[in-house]
């Protein structure tokens, strides 16, 4: 049998193996699915951001394009002389304002940089001269110009769009100022989440529109430097130490970078939720698997232990049976070999007795001695024959008959045989026989021999003065009748306990016992399908326990 530490090791090994084989695929599955989901989700977010960025860029480009076209259309449809007429520029401005409210003012500047005519709220700048300014030179060179946002003389964030026209040898410039607030409304929109942001940057990373968070208009916003590229790009950019997903696109009409920052918490919320879900499912799976593993291993182990125990007890009973069988064979062989010489001795003695009838021997003075001797020879041959016949009886394989036997009756009858002997030795036999004891399918004559052997042994063991208790009772599962015979004798020493059913084992004096009584009893009970065992401690008497299977019909 495996020792309990062996079982513990086996249990740990089983649990770990099963957990390993179950949990590793579970973890791989969970991780893979989560990664796939994460990739798909981020892909979707990026796509959405790209789309949004592209749309915004187009809107702004379109806006700038329209403004430029409008101014060009005005400049190229009329000569300078036309605008110089009283109220004409005013009328044109009003017309432009009718459709687009973001124009602040409109002015015409001649080639030496001074305002020729102006319409708008800031009359003070009429006297301004732009001859040395960068934008004035550029517009004359390139034909049009769009400025960055600046505060300028008006001290209000705005930008200018200017176009130049050449008339003969003369150049004049039409210049409009536009409120840069327009970009705020163009760039921002409710398509961005609660924490999303969008803004425009010029090449020096100066904000051209008002972001919702962080620095203000015209302040620096450092996203890093991006060389000009076409189309839309998405980058992960750290702002205030936190990584943000940012969509970037350069405008076509102006060196401005459009940046749209998505709301990180909003965009990653499904991911976080999924991560939680994955963890919960993994934890739940782990608990279920661990519970199942422990349960299964417990079941398997207890089954294993039970079968080990059964095997051990089966082995023990098989050992006893095979011991009995081989002893029986040997006993039979010995008995048979002795029977032949015994038969001859017996016949020789018989022949001598026959001859004693002859006249001349009768006259012999030793006649009486001869007769005595022959009688003794015959007596002891008979004794030897009894032994060999009992030995052979123990060994023979005759099926016992099976009849309905009332064990109580058999016991009562057996006691009457021994009552005199017991009384003579001052031994009292007490009985506790269960009433309505069920019948057993057995052989009453053989059972009686067993009880006789055991009670006789008990009387011999006690010697004088003592008690014998005999009890019967029915038990269930298995359905058996149990007979216990307990004596108040000296008991059986431990080292002899497992030998008492062996043939020729006896504690009695030579000539008083054959040492076969218990052997035969054991073999009878075994053939009847029952069990017999003995419990004893030195000085505490001995108890024989016989279990007989119940009659099942």
């Amino acid at each position: 049998m495996i020792e309990s530490s062996g079982y513990t090791k086996l249990r740990i090994k089983m649990v770990l193996t099963t957990l390993g084989f179950s949990l590793i695929p579970l973890l791989i599955l969970g991780y893979t699915i989560f990664r796939q989901f994460e990739a798909a989700h981020i892909g979707k977010v990026v796509q959405h951001l790209n789309h949004l960025t592209e749309n915004k860029r187009r809107t702004i480009d379109l806006f700038l394009n329209e403004r430029l076209s409008q101014l060009m259309a005005i400049a190229y449809t009329h000569k300078l002389q036309y605008f110089l007429e009283d109220g004409t520029l005013e009328r044109v401005f009003t017309l432009m304002q009718a459709r687009s409210k973001y124009y602040i003012d409109l002015g015409i500047i001649d080639q030496d940089g001074s305002h020729v005519i102006y319409t708008g709220p800031y009359q003070a700048i009429r006297t301004a001269n732009y001859k040395d300014e960068e934008w004035f030179n550029q517009v004359q060179a390139k034909g049009f110009y769009i400025s960055d946002v600046f505060l300028g003389r008006r001290n209000y964030p705005h930008f200018i769009i200017a176009v130049s026209r050449r008339e003969g040898d003369h150049t004049w410039v039409l210049r409009a100022t536009i409120d840069s607030d327009i970009f705020d409304s163009l760039v921002q929109s409710d398509q961005l989440g609660a924490n999303g942001d969008a803004f425009l940057l010029n090449t020096d990373n100066v904000l051209q529109s008002k972001p919702r968070f962080g620095p203000k208009l015209l302040e620096h916003m450092n996203l890093g430097s991006f060389a000009k590229f076409t189309g839309v790009r998405t980058d992960t950019i750290a702002v205030d130490g936190k990584p943000y997903l940012v969509g970037l696109a350069w405008l076509e009409n102006k060196n401005w970078l459009l940046a749209i920052r998505d709301d990180p918490t909003e965009e990653l919320m499904p991911l976080a939720r999924t991560r939680w879900l994955v963890w919960i499912i993994l934890a739940g799976g782990f608990l279920v698997i661990a519970g199942g593993t422990i349960l299964t291993s417990n079941t398997i182990l207890s089954q294993l232990m039970r079968s080990e125990r059964e095997k051990a007890s089966l082995n023990a009973s098989l050992t006893q049976s095979s011991k009995m069988a081989s002893l029986g064979k040997m006993a039979a062989g010995v008995a048979h070999e002795i029977n032949n010489p015994l038969a001859i001795i017996k016949e020789k003695a018989g022949w001598m007795r026959d001859l004693l009838g002859e006249e001349d021997i009768k006259a012999s003075p030793n006649f009486k001695e001869f007769e005595d001797a022959i009688t003794k020879i015959e007596y002891h041959v008979t004794r030897a024959k009894d032994v060999t016949h009992r030995l052979l009886g123990f060994a023979r394989r005759m099926d016992p008959i099976h009849e309905d036997v009332n064990v109580n009756e058999v016991i009562t009858q057996t006691i009457t045989f021994l009552q005199n002997e017991a009384r003579y030795r001052a031994i009292e036999i007490h009985t506790g026989l269960q009433k309505d004891l069920p019948f057993v399918a057995s052989d009453s004559a053989q059972l009686q021999q067993v009880f006789l052997n055991i009670i006789d042994n008990a009387i011999d063991a006690i010697g004088k003065d003592g008690n014998i208790h005999i009890r019967t009772m029915a038990v269930h599962d298995p359905d058996e009748v149990v007979i216990t015979i307990k004596d108040s004798g000296p008991g059986i020493p431990k080292e002899k306990l497992d030998k008492i059913f062996d043939p020729f084992f006896t504690t009695k004096k030579v000539g008083e016992g054959t040492g076969l009584g218990l052997t035969i009893s054991f073999s009878i009970i075994q053939k009847l399908g029952g069990t017999i065992k003995v419990e004893s401690e030195e000085g505490q008497g001995a108890t024989f326990i016989i279990c007989l299977p119940r009659n099942k019909d």
Binding site: A332, G333, A335, H336, N339, N340, L342, A343, I344, I345, K346, E347, K348, G350, W351, D354, V381, K385, T388, H389, L392, G393, A395, R396, M398
Partner: protein, 131 residues
Amino acid sequence: MEIRILLVDDEADFVETMAKRFRIRKITVAPAYSGVEALKLMDEQDFDVVILDVRMPGMDGLEVLRQIRLKRPLTEVIMLTGHASLDAGMQGMNLGAYDYVLKPADFDELLDKVRRAAERKALNVRAQAKG
């Protein structure tokens, strides 16, 4: 009534002593020390009863019994058997033996069985003569 017995056993001492005891009781006994010898004797003369040991070297008692039943179906056979070969005794009964006796046998019991076997044989002979 005169009874003729054939006594078959491989133990010479046993056969001789047994024979003497029968003879002193006026019963004719022919000794045989093996199955082959017994069958040879039976070819030469008729016996009423054969006392046959089951365990013998060479041809064993059961085989001898079979041959006897073929040769002399009217002759009665009593088997001598050790306890361990009780099955053989039973088998002998099935093969037509009159009875069996356990070794070491009680002489008076054996004598009684011999007499009764002889009677039965006489009855059978008479019945066959009539029939």
